[in-house]
Chain length 314, copies 2
């Protein structure tokens, strides 16, 4: 039996056919071009699916991972800021289009499921997967099941408060973890440094274009002795370590998976967090905890969505 | 169908008969006198059960809530510092003694289950119950099931770090929430203030006996204008509010229950936390969140343990 998984993001649509064991058999990647609106994106999805599986005969289901707030029971995209969508009945539309069982899930949560089943998590009954990229999100598998929360909002560790009264977050609160550990967060700190007239080599490094700032630049510039970059990087390491240790302490998972662009491009961040988290959690929690790198890379959402379709098709 | 629930603590044994709906039909309370050793405590448990239900004919199961680290699958008390027990096969011993199906669970987790089924939590599929007393513990019901963690250590929010590098905790870490918000924590702070020569009206209030310090004394003395008591109380409120908001943010439960001796004796603490938590969590999480006082009081462990026995008897 095969399944199609799609990861629908603001920039890219990734898709693939996946077998029963979560192996990615074929894959494709295209631009979302979301400005065209939901109907045009749906047409791109239809074409992507048709190209992957011209005959749908051996495809048992379709799973879509979508960045944003998803109502998994109905497959409605409640809010997807990166796509500019509000209340799009995505599962309903796709069922009409492709004549397959369809599930839709939040992208990070689907990715956590992919890592649980096909990545390194399958040995246990519980896993937390944390992805640090443009933003910072997570999904949790508890007692062998993906936990979406009472209002599809579980796992928002990026919006736990690590600096009470700290940097203002677009979410409305202050001092959220994501402000200190994410591509967006690093850029915001550089903007604020400029406003404050703080001297930093990151100005030259980005050529004055703060939106080009990457995690690697912060890390390298910190290591070159730049005081501001050092502070930003040390804050990132410190807050990520404490916040994830606290997350592990309350959930007590078997596996903590770290992935996403920032983790992939700065290997030292994984090493430092993996060394720093265990001493800060409880003895019992750390005794069983494995901390691992995400294994499915950019395709965890595709694989996870396909495997969620497999689960609901059974 | 009726069940017997027992809450076995270092000081007291509470027990009761409970019906299918979690109603407490009869109750009894006796001293544990744990210094006598496991055999003597087991004999007290046997007598307590026999007095509650002279004939066991209409009793379908026995549930025991026990303070400490419990291996629920086997009913072994792995570690119970308050009782001085290590690796006591409590379920096994009790099955011999009373000829009933027996389950054993951690006391705070059993209490959370009691609040979920028979308290205010039953409307949803998820609940976090946090108990602030001598220590600070919690249990979580996720997707309708009690979650024990990968190593029976889930819910240890009392050992999340709220002040990195803060007050030393017996657990080996520093800055744990429990050091700032619990009877034990308040007493530790007073001891440290004495060592540091800090002037506080709590010295007179406790007659120089720091072990007699209660949460009410801290609260009242703070309101009388004492600077040290003010600091201790403000820290307690602040750290409890942020830590529980972060707990809610990652778990996204329908209900947050607050109970335990400190919450019961200082009503203002519940009110302040209940007002402070929602703005610090995500919009989606707060929209569905109900924050409630524990309804079963000191008997939540008894009711919860009995209801866990009901679940496993079915």
């Amino acid at each position: 039996m095969r399944f199609i998984g799609v990861d629908l993001g603001g920039t890219r649509i990734r898709a693939g056919t996946v077998d029963d064991d979560g192996r990615l058999l074929a894959r494709s990647e295209t631009l979302s071009d979301a400005r065209r609106g939901p109907a045009a994106v749906l047409e791109t999805l239809r074409r992507t699916i048709t190209e992957l599986a011209p005959s749908l005969d051996d495809i048992a289901g379709l799973g879509v991972a979508c960045a944003g707030q998803i109502h998994a029971a109905t497959g409605v995209v409640v809010q997807a800021p990166n796509l500019g969508w509000t209340n799009v009945p995505l599962a309903h539309e796709l069922r009409h289009t492709v004549d397959l069982p369809v599930i839709v899930e939040n992208d990070v949560r689907a990715a956590a499921w992919g890592e649980f089943i096909a990545g390194g998590g399958h040995a246990g009954d519980s896993l937390i997967a944390v992805f640090v990229g443009t933003g910072l999100g997570s999904g949790a598998v508890i007692d062998g099941r993906l936990w979406a929360g009472a209002s599809n909002a579980a796992g928002e560790v990026g919006h736990t408060q690590v600096v009470p009264g700290g940097i203002a977050c677009p979410c409305g609160a202050r001092g959220c973890l994501e402000r200190y550990v994410s591509g967006n967060g690093f850029q915001q700190r550089l903007r604020e440094a400029r406003t404050a007239g703080t001297d930093t080599a990151l100005d030259a490094r980005t050529g004055g274009d703060g939106a080009s700032l990457t995690a690697s630049m912060v890390y390298e510039t910190a290591n070159d002795g730049d005081a501001f970059a050092r502070r930003v990087w040390d804050d990132a390491v410190h807050h990520l370590t404490v916040a994830l240790a606290n997350y592990v302490t309350v959930v007590n998972p078997r596996v903590l998976v770290l992935g996403g662009g920032v983790i992939e491009t700065v290997p030292a961040l994984f090493d430092t967090a993996a060394a720093g988290i265990p001493p800060l959690t409880t003895i019992l929690a750390r005794e069983v905890l494995r901390i691992e790198r995400a294994r499915l890379g950019a395709w965890s959402g595709v694989v996870g969505a396909a495997l969620l379709a497999r689960g609901s098709a059974r």
